[in-house]
């Protein structure tokens, strides 16, 4: 094993690590925000929106993420340049980058998986608590904001840790659409130095460490929320 390439590529690797963390945090936060309405319209059994949300979750969970990323990047990405004038618009620098498509795909994927969990969590909140809120004269919005969502979020929290850790393991797929995340950098090192195993092994270890950090961080956060057993 030869590791003499490490100092030369260290800045690039650190930059890749930042991009990986950025992809993870943005997709988890935005995905979680999207997951709430996706879960809510299914829990409320609204006919049209509920069916759409269910279809979305089925599609996301039933197809590989790699297909979703390539569908967005190669599929939709090849359509955008045909729109007249788009090359001059302010959107073009964003629409040109693989990063944008990877982020969108990772976000919708997380929203699909987490939306399904939120649906279950929202349905698992005891009916009596919602009725108690109503009896206090809370508006439906007040019940949702002050009782339903916080309670459902607490129920979903343990699965959120696992989903976030899974999401970390999905981020390397962004490198297949030219993103120079941690894994993308290891590919570049492989092409430059013809070293196959060392860069892969190094980034693999970083991913594993990050994985356990996420699990640990969520466990720490969960303990801080008082809960009656």
């Amino acid at each position: 094993m030869v590791w003499d390439w490490v100092p030369e590529y260290l800045p690039l690797l650190l930059n890749g690590l930042l991009i990986t963390i950025e992809l993870l945090v943005l997709s988890v936060v935005i995905g979680m925000v999207l997951a709430i309405p996706i879960g809510l319209v299914q829990a409320l059994r609204t006919p049209l929106l509920g069916a759409m949300a269910r279809g979305f979750c089925t599609f996301i969970r039933g197809t590989p993420l790699l297909v979703q990323i390539w569908l967005l990047y190669f599929g939709f990405g090849s359509l955008f340049p045909m729109i007249p004038g788009i090359r001059q618009s302010f959107m073009w620098p964003i629409l040109r980058e693989g990063y944008f498509y990877a982020l969108v795909a990772l976000t919708t994927s997380f929203a699909g998986y987490e939306g399904e969990i939120m649906r279950g969590a929202l349905l698992a909140v005891p009916k009596g608590e919602l009725e108690a809120g109503k009896a206090f004269g809370m508006s439906p919005w007040g019940v949702l904001r002050r009782i339903w969502l916080p309670r459902a979020f607490r129920l979903a929290l343990p699965t959120l840790a696992g989903e976030t850790a899974l999401q970390l393991k999905a981020t390397p797929l962004a490198a297949t659409v030219t993103v120079l995340d941690l894994f993308g950098v290891s590919n570049k090192i492989r092409q430059d130095t013809y070293r196959v195993y060392e860069p892969l092994l190094l980034v693999l270890i970083v991913y594993v460490v990050l994985y356990f950090f996420i699990i640990w961080a969520f466990r720490w956060y969960e303990k801080r929320i008082p809960q009656k057993r």
């Binding site: 089925t58 599609f59 969970r61 039933g62 197809t63 590989p64 993420l65 790699l66 297909v67 979703q68 390539w70 569908l71 190669f74 599929g75 939709f76 990405g77 090849s78 359509l79 850790a165 970390l168 393991k169 999905a170 981020t171 390397p172 797929l173 297949t176 894994f183 290891s186 196959v196 195993y197 892969l200 092994l201 980034v203 693999l204 991913y207 594993v208 994985y211 356990f212």
Partner: protein, 239 residues
């Protein structure tokens, strides 16, 4: 020669890409089935090893399941795909054999099976642990040999508990098999990517791939629903 239009491009024959995609889908199913079978065998052995009580074996298995489950699938696949063939040839060379060319199919199945094994070990271990101890004790009291106990008591008592997890594993392996496309072995996703590259109809072909994967998932769900209903017969309803 002019390129055929929308529906014709998906037809069979030398003009359309329908046969290429279907062959890719069949390859995906074959890879998945073989990897799943290997994964379950490793899982069963791993679960018994973990519960067997041998400290050293338990620690090795713990490292295996923890490490595989914490690693990104894509990187692990690449690493095992490259390193695995190199390692095999290294071992062969040290025993004086000539190097072999591992077929893409065998490598894909071995890599995915190795990864599935880690997940399956945990699923099956949990299911075996959930069997009431009294049932095992009763079998022991009847004088059943370990193998008979395993075959007649452990497996049937564990199956209803393990099947939801096993269904999940199957869905994971069908989706993870798409990562083999990155290594360059032609299964469903790479076949559609090649078709898309040739025709420049990226949106059409990747939608097509997504549709086929979705059909595989939905069909598998129906099958597993029946299997679960069969194995849960006589057990209390869930929920």
């Amino acid at each position: 020669m002019a390129q055929p239009g929308f529906p014709e491009i998906l037809f069979f024959g030398d003009q359309g890409y329908g046969d290429e995609i279907l062959r890719g889908a069949w390859m995906t199913v074959q890879i998945s089935i073989c990897a799943y079978a290997i994964g379950l065998l490793i899982g069963l052995a791993g679960a018994m090893g973990k519960l067997g009580g041998n400290r050293k074996l338990g620690r090795v298995l713990e490292f295996y399941t923890t490490f595989v489950r914490a690693s990104p699938e894509l990187i692990l696949i690449l690493l095992l795909y490259y390193a695995g063939t190199g390692l095999l040839n290294g071992v062969l060379a040290s025993y004086g054999y000539t190097a072999v060319r591992v077929s893409g199919f065998a490598a894909a199945v071995a890599v995915l099976g190795f990864m599935q094994g880690a997940y399956a070990t945990e699923v099956l271990r949990a299911a075996i642990q959930a069997i009431p101890v009294g049932q095992i004790d009763a079998a022991r009291a009847f004088g059943m040999t370990p193998w008979l106990r395993f075959r007649r008591i452990v497996i049937p008592a564990m199956l209803p508990l393990a099947i939801p997890g096993m269904a999940n594993l199957w869905l994971i392996v069908t989706k993870d098999s798409s990562l083999i496309a990155v290594v360059g072995y032609t299964e469903l996703l790479l076949a559609t990517r090649q078709a898309a590259g040739n025709t420049k109809l990226y949106l059409l072909f990747f939608s097509c791939a997504a549709f086929v994967y979705l059909m595989i998932t939905l069909a598998s769900n129906q099958v597993f629903k029946r299997v679960e209903a069969y194995y849960r017969r006589g057990m209390p309803r869930l929920g």
